[in-house]
Amino acid sequence: MSINDFLAILPVLVVLVTGVLVMVADVFLPEGRKGIAALLSGLGLAAGLGAALAAVPSTGTAFAGMVVADGFSLFLDALFAAVGLVGIGLAYDYFKRMRLQRGEYYTLLLFSIGGMMLMGHANDLVMFFLALELLSIPLYILSGFFRARLASQEAALKYFLLGAFSSGFVLYGIAMVFGGTASINLEGIVAAVRDGSANLTFLLVGAALLVVGFAFKVSAVPFHAWTPDVYEGAPSPLTGFMSSATKAAGFAALIRLLLVVFPALGENLAPVVSGLAALTMIAGNLIALVQTNIKRLLAYSSIAHAGYLLIGLVAVNSSAAGDAVAAMLFYLVGYAIANLGAWSVVVAAEQAEGRGLELEDYSGLGRKYPWLGVAMLVFMLSFIGVPLTLGFWGKLYLFRVALESGLFGLAVIGIAASLVSAYYYLRVVVYMFFRDGEGVARRDVWLNLIAIGSAAAVVLMALVPGDLLQVAAQAVLRVP
């Protein structure tokens, strides 16, 4: 164990240590000054982001091969830290308004972010499991953060029960993989597959169970059922954070795992992932079509986007794997920005006791608050994939990867699904601009900053999408 071991996961450590610090500091913060916890957390995340962007960590494996640091994990470190920062911004204004400003929210959020980051670094099934639990357990708690609110309680319990249920599958899957290869280390697994000592049946069963477990995290249909309920019941800022970050963490795990097992099992596993992708795109978009609550609508939207991303995951099982990973990372960033922006609008429009969340409540909002309205318009267009938004480029790259690896059917389903999605995203625009109503929204500094900043990012980065794609393309994985 050397300093290099710690350097490899420096961003993770920064975030986790900050989490502990905030927890301690919170005890000393007087009631009414709990906002300082948010500030501290923000500083910690900024430091973590800085560490990731400055590429301080050394690359390669560390802690005896338990973790790995490579371009991929760095990219994700930066993404999670950035999403976390925005998540804190959302939460700060929201909880201040709801008079529920508490230090433990930020502590738990930091722990969860740490878990997500760790997921990107995991190189050993133990680490995958630990990272999964580290990111999940705080989220169970945070979902029920409104302890007195029935919806919040219900969300928390549902999330918890189903999350644990899926963890069971992950765990059993790991056991099978271990049984098949005698190793829980990715390099060991690869080695076992290469030298032919692996029992491929056990490996396949294990890998399939792992896919199930992580498909739950990315809310792939039919493992999505928790998503709408939890997203609706949980505090809105948390939902915004979760839908952007958890998905990325789940895909990080899936990408790394499938890169390891696809060479041996691609023939069997790729159709499974294809099926998930098709089902997720279709069901997510169709059910979103009939939603009237903005939080549920965005929940199904997030399911649908997981479907598009799953196309990229299928393409990992092809010669275009590099492009596929780059496209997925790009898509995740584009989605995260637009999604956080959209949730910032939702948070701004939410009234006390969870009112102001129906589409009806959005009537006329865009005309009354043109900046907020235009920002929401940009996010919706980006979700649809209309040009001059990041969402367009994301879909362009994803579909390109799909065609490159011969996934014509999935590509066609993808565009059909996009078409359906246009309807419900535009309906939000219809309510905001084309209808009259008395909707009100908050003009909180951070919320507006996030909304407008995200919208600007979505549009401006779309003008020069090359840079981000370049970064994503260079975020290569260290393939064991």
Binding site: S166, L204, F223, P228, I287, Q291
Partner: protein, 654 residues
């Protein structure tokens, strides 16, 4: 002045009327009624003067010339120019159009002054002359064109003027819409004919690579027979539309809704003869397609007979003339169909004289009736309702009230009937002589038509001018002013002596046209046919006199003597053999229904239904998926388990 300096004047036959339009459009309000009428008439006269100059030039250089004005459109091998054709055929037409046109312009100054006041909108006076000048310009384009496409511009241009002028009183007529409907009918039916013109041109272009007379006509015989047949038959369709032949004649009777000068100029003397001109112009093509020739011949002959039968039963003074026009056009079309171009053109010219005369005379009668009606109404304090100044049943005895009109009308009528030595006799005789050479059957058909012609002429003369006035208006009618009667006099003179153009022996017109078209049938004067024709004409007149003149009707309500004798058949004739009704049932109603069905059940129901149905289906599926999301955490776990089971079933099946 030589032909070289005269021929380049030809664009002015179009440009002068256009200049007239421009002046009246910009300064018409300031010029006042007289000024507007004067400018328009001068424009027509200018056009006539240029035509005369061109004729002078042709006298020196009879083979004529083509003059390029500008390139119109050029795409690949398609090259169409704005180019004029000066030859004896086109200049003859120009002379007729601008000559008769000028007279009718002058006549209209008086007529429209009254007409606009009767109809309560004097401000529309200017508009009338704008349209009339536009018509002269379009007609000149038609006859002076050097290629079929430019001819088509005139062809549809006169159709437009016809539309505008029929609908001149667009708020009048049956239910206030009658005139507008009549105008639309004229335009649409003409468009059906134009379809033939267009397709003929398309075929021509792909067969000859050109649309210009100079390139197509000399090479006409080179093309395949089927192609020639197609071109000529489609041209025939165009002819039936524009010249109101079977089966597309139905628009012309309705076109009488236009002011009377319009009926005279457009719907008798000039525009409707465009079809005859087209066939004459395209004679080399027709000559190469004998089957098409006989089609043209028979269409003309049957139309001549068919329209004449209808004319004998009409009560509207203008409608009689309208059907007479159709009938006479049938004669001309039959003539050119036979290849007797000279005879056809000859009849075209004389018909222009005497039919314009008859229409204008009828116009004078109508004005007289209206004046009479007004005088009577003033004396008896109103009661306007139900008065129709065109219904012959309310006329009678106008001979004494309107002597000038009577005499000119008589001349026109006898010319139409074909009484020697009036113009109609000579021209009709030439056609009959040619028919006698070509086809005895046609000859007989045409003779019957001639008999009926003379009969309805006599009937009309008797009903309008003889006996006693059968209404207050007729009894109070007065003669028209000189601005109306002077042109009538000139036309009467022309109708009387017009036959001199191509007297047997002199063949002035024949020699003149010879430079441009070579008739296929040279019908010399045949004393036998001439004698038969004259006898037939006199017999018709006599028969008419017998029925209507000997014991004139005394009251408007009295039944028509012919109706008493023909009973049911008369109703058929009066209702024009129910052709309008048949067309309505066959085409208009089904098309309206079809379009309503397409717009309703098909477009909104089926096609848009599929579109909206797809959306509805998506929502349905969405709701289905939504119902799975029932809120019970255990069922969510079950869904997950089903997913796992499916995956493992799939993996097991591999």
């Amino acid at each position: 002045m030589t032909a070289e300096t005269l021929f380049p004047l030809v664009p002015w036959v179009v440009l002068i009327p256009l200049a007239g339009i421009l002046i009246n459009l910009l300064a018409g309000r300031a010029l006042g009624e007289r000024g507007v009428g004067l400018v328009a008439s001068l424009a027509a006269l200018g056009s006539f003067a240029v035509s005369v100059l061109l004729a002078v030039g042709l006298a020196q250089q009879p083979e004529g010339q083509s003059l390029l004005l500008a390139r119109w459109m050029s795409i690949g091998s398609l090259n169409v120019d704005w180019a004029f054709r000066v030859d004896t055929l086109s200049v003859t037409m120009m002379l007729v159009v601008s000559g008769v046109g000028t007279l009718i312009h002058i006549y209209s100054i008086g007529y429209m002054h009254d007409d606009t006041r009767h109809n309560g909108d004097p401000a529309r006076f200017r508009r009338f002359f704008l349209y009339l000048n536009l018509f002269i310009a379009a007609m000149m384009v038609l006859v002076s064109a050097d290629n079929y496409l430019m001819m088509f511009v005139g062809w549809e241009g006169v159709g437009l003027c016809s539309y505008l002028l029929i609908g001149f009183w667009f708020e009048k007529g049956e239910a206030g819409l009658g005139n507008a409907r009549a105008a639309k009918k004229a335009f649409v039916v003409n468009r059906i004919g134009d379809l033939g013109f267009l397709i003929a041109m398309f075929t021509m272009f792909w067969a000859f690579g050109s649309l210009s007379f100079g390139e197509v006509l000399p090479r006409a015989a080179e093309a395949a027979p089927a192609v020639l047949l197609a071109i000529t038959l489609f041209f025939l369709l165009a002819v039936t539309g524009k010249s109101a032949q079977l089966p597309l004649f139905t628009w012309l009777p309705d076109a009488m809704a236009g002011p009377t000068p319009v009926s005279a100029l457009i719907h008798a003397a000039t525009m409707v003869t465009a079809g005859v001109y087209l066939v004459a112009r395209s004679l080399p093509i027709f000559a190469a397609a004998p089957a098409a020739q006989s089609a043209v011949l028979w269409v003309g002959a049957l139309t001549a007979l068919f329209a004449a039968t209808i004319a004998v039963a009409q009560t509207d003074i203008k409608r009689v003339l309208a059907f007479s026009t159709i009938s006479q056009l049938g004669f001309m079309v039959a003539a050119v169909g036979m290849g007797a171009v000279v005879a056809g053109m000859f009849h075209l010219i004389t018909h222009a004289f005497f039919k314009a005369l008859l229409f204008l005379g009828a116009g004078s009668v109508i004005l007289g009736m209206e004046r009479g009606h007004e005088r009577h109404a003033q004396a008896h304090d109103g009661h306007h309702g139900g008065f129709d100044p065109q219904d012959m049943r309310f006329m009678g005895g106008l001979r004494s009230r309107m002597p000038v009109t009577f005499w000119v009308y008589l001349i026109g009528g006898l010319a139409l009937a074909g009484v020697a030595p009036l113009s109609g006799f000579f021209s009709k005789d030439e056609i009959l002589a040619a028919a006698e050479q070509v086809s005895p059957a046609v000859f007989v058909v045409l003779l019957i038509a001639a008999l009926l012609t003379a009969f309805y002429v006599a009937r009309q003369l008797a009903l309008v001018f003889f006996g006693q006035g059968r209404s207050e208006a007729a009894r109070a009618a007065t003669e028209s002013s000189p601005v109306i009667t002077v042109p009538l006099g000139i036309l009467a003179a022309l109708a009387a002596v017009g036959g001199a153009l191509n007297l047997p022996g002199s063949h002035l017109l024949g020699d003149w046209l010879h430079h441009t078209v070579e008739p296929l049938v040279e019908a010399g004067f045949n004393p036998l046919t001439a004698g038969i024709a004259l006898v037939i004409a006199l017999a018709g007149l006599g028969l008419g006199w017998l029925l209507y003149g000997r014991s004139p009707l005394t009251r408007a309500e009295e039944p028509d003597p012919l109706a008493v004798r023909l009973k049911g058949l008369f109703t058929w004739l009066r209702r024009k053999w129910y052709v309008d009704e048949i067309y309505n049932a066959l085409f208009v109603t089904p098309y309206t229904r079809l379009s309503q069905m397409l717009a309703g059940p098909v477009d909104q129901g089926l096609i848009d239904g599929v579109v909206n149905g797809a959306g509805g289906m998506a929502r349905l599926l969405g709701n289905l998926g939504r119902s799975l999301q029932n809120g019970y955490v255990r069922s969510y776990a079950l869904i997950m388990l089903v997913g796992v089971a499916l995956i493992f079933t799939f993996l097991l099946a591999r």
